[in-house]
Symmetry: C2
Subunit: 193 residues, 2 copies
Amino acid sequence: MTTRTADPRVVPLIAGRWSPRAFDGSDLPQADLDVIFQAAGLAPSAFNYQPWRFLYAHRADAALFAKFLAPLVEFNQSWANSASVLVYVVSEEAMVSDKGANPNHSHSFDAGAAWAMLALQASALGYHSHGMTGVDFEAARAALEVPAGFRIEAAIALGTMTTPEGLPEYLREREVPSARKPVGEIAIAGTFR
Amino acid sequence: MTTRTADPRVVPLIAGRWSPRAFDGSDLPQADLDVIFQAAGLAPSAFNYQPWRFLYAHRADAALFAKFLAPLVEFNQSWANSASVLVYVVSEEAMVSDKGANPNHSHSFDAGAAWAMLALQASALGYHSHGMTGVDFEAARAALEVPAGFRIEAAIALGTMTTPEGLPEYLREREVPSARKPVGEIAIAGTFR
């Protein structure tokens, strides 16, 4: 069952990626995770500054995983608890060099590009990912010791998808790829309208 | 010549994407552009809100293209003038519904994810893309009539790559994929450090 259609020329990895909530809690090998982060780091960024940072915890490291899980809103905790790895994407707000610090217009935008690469690479290795902004960002900043000057963009659940039986009933019916606006609504030839 | 190495398991489309400046100025068929925007729209976003908008101008539409080119800083104008299409990525800052408007924590981040999908899809169709924040954003807002409540994230040059002979000499040597930080510098097991 799918709620999405795409032109056959759309890259299958892009068209097929979606964000489930049913994860099996299995281990995700560090070697795979490193490849996923390497792909994320290949995203483009302004002046190639690479403002992104990824903080992560494996589920197998129960104490650390609990610290990463706690800032999520209760709804997200309920299913993300079965992810293999929880990640927080953080971006550096300024470009810092020997000459001082300058605002970076695109630190969040660039971090989002890295997140997209991460998601696709995870798919390519047979995993699934689910981004979350249902996060108590203040709590996350405290728990993860994120200093001023870095913005917490989102959390990500990474893992191996399983059947939706383990989800509460109201989530089972949402366990399908979500629809998208038609191209005509997001792409505009000419000025804004 | 490349300045990048990647694990062989990194998706080739991700590892091979880079941002040249030598474009040949040829037409980019609208049908291809539509596929590129469709792929962009398949990015994940908070609550599937899809805050991204893409304003674009084909080079063949000289008057509109000039309007899109003018807000770029002079340096970017010099080479982006040979792109096939200029795009501005804009994001809606709030989530608007019947119940009112709420701040969207991830509007820029989500737009960045869409930009990454756009870049990869362009590569898959044989084109190249180059994001720019060397933009007079105030001028762009005026020229493109972008209303309050929408943030201009970046401009994008899209087109067909050519040999670098047409570039000024100081740019020819930069016409290679840029290097990246090692994974150990961007991915952190545990809290921030």
